[in-house]
Subunit: 215 residues, 2 copies
DNA sequence: TAGATTGTTAATCGATTAACAATC
DNA sequence: TAGATTGTTAATCGATTAACAATC
């Protein structure tokens, strides 16, 4: 059953649904209608029903959705019902911050090692995660079934190192480098461009200010 | 001249244009057509021209766009032609990583202080940036003309502290907390939900794998 | 059963792409 | 001037919202 192509607009919204359902669960609410959920999330009920029906009929007429069930189903859709082995390439501030952030582990993203080319860092540990030499990249990826490489290195080296990681078997790059990676079609790339994000923030302040002057 | 509403799809693309133009500048290219740029960026030339014309006619028929000029104009549109004073609330790993990342300073985002409620951290410095007590928030924001607060604290405290910062004069929140803030309409919120990003990555791996089995 | 709410089709809205006249 | 390329209007495509029959 090859899945018909889901639009990226829908995919972007899935983690948010998952988050709200998790909150409902914590509140002990075990049933919700698309209408109630739409009020909480500030989206239309129509959109919620359309989005979910891309993946199947998870609700029941006259009842709504079972929170726990829907939460689990979305986890499966997102692929977070299984563990994902991950490495971090670049043991700078950002790489270390991600390594220390324990919550990813709770969601099944297991950080197996950090890599860096700086001899001063190699051999050290971050919590119980080793910082390894870049020389070890190939063997480590192959022997530890690494799916994801987080890239927290300067943009100059990013594409070459990403290509290297991919050639050793990595399936997805979580890219914090400030550049667009050029990788084979089948590789998943998720960009986190923090400076792009700051620029959008700045844009909004800019025109917010304009309104103040004219309004 | 109140600006007609620009769609967020366009705004999201602006930082990318800015980045590519910066790269062209570094390569010493001083003129580019929408067609050449479209090949580099892998978007349609039509989209580039439409996007730019939301803000004015920056090109010249028969010539194309002057790279340096367009780069500067986009900087103005994005509001990164002026300095922005910023604080970071939450001196945990992520807050520290952002504080240490020098590049934001180059773009005009000046980190004036970090705030935390942990007495062990208060009084310490990160580079030459002080970590201050949350008690100081009000006076510091007011006296230092702080526009932006980066929020790198757990989700539980996030909305209340964001509201507090806004009440003291902050205009924009760069939100790393894993929750949707509820703030007045006029406040700019830019979310960086790292775990949402990881879930999208996971989604793509999930269906990538599915394809492998069936293909 | 009657009421509620889904799943899904149809209508609308908005964003992207194509086309071309204007013009450098 | 002739050729190139923009700025902009028109056509297409896709995503969101509305509506309602199906059904629990």
């Amino acid at each position: 059953m090859a899945k018909k192509e889901i639009s990226s607009a829908v995919i972007k919204r899935l983690p948010r649904y998952y988050r709200y359902l998790g909150e409902l669960l914590e509140e002990g609410i075990d049933r919700i209608s698309s209408n109630e959920l739409s009020e909480r999330m500030r989206v239309t009920a129509s959109q919620i029903r359309q989005d979910l029906n891309n993946f199947g009929g998870f609700g029941q007429q006259g009842y709504g959705y079972n929170v726990r069930y829907l939460h689990e189903e979305i986890a499966k859709i997102l692929g977070i019902d299984t563990k994902h082995n991950m490495i971090i390439i670049g043991a700078g501030n950002l790489g270390l911050a991600i390594a220390k952030y324990a919550n990813f582990g709770k969601r099944g993203f297991i950080i197996k090692a950090l890599f860096d080319k700086n001899p001063e860092l190699i051999g050290k540990k971050v919590g119980d995660i080793d910082i390894l030499d870049m020389d070890m990249l190939e063997s480590f990826i192959k022997e530890n079934d690494i799916e994801i490489a987080a890239l927290t290195i300067p943009k100059g080296d990013a594409t070459a190192i990403a290509q290297e990681a991919v050639s050793y078997g990595v399936r997805a790059i979580w890219n914090f480098a400030h550049t667009d990676l050029r990788l084979p079609e089948y590789v998943t790339v998720e960009n986190v461009h923090l400076s792009d994000s700051l620029m959008r923030l700045s844009y909004n302040i800019r025109w917010q200010e304009k309104d103040d002057i004219n309004g």
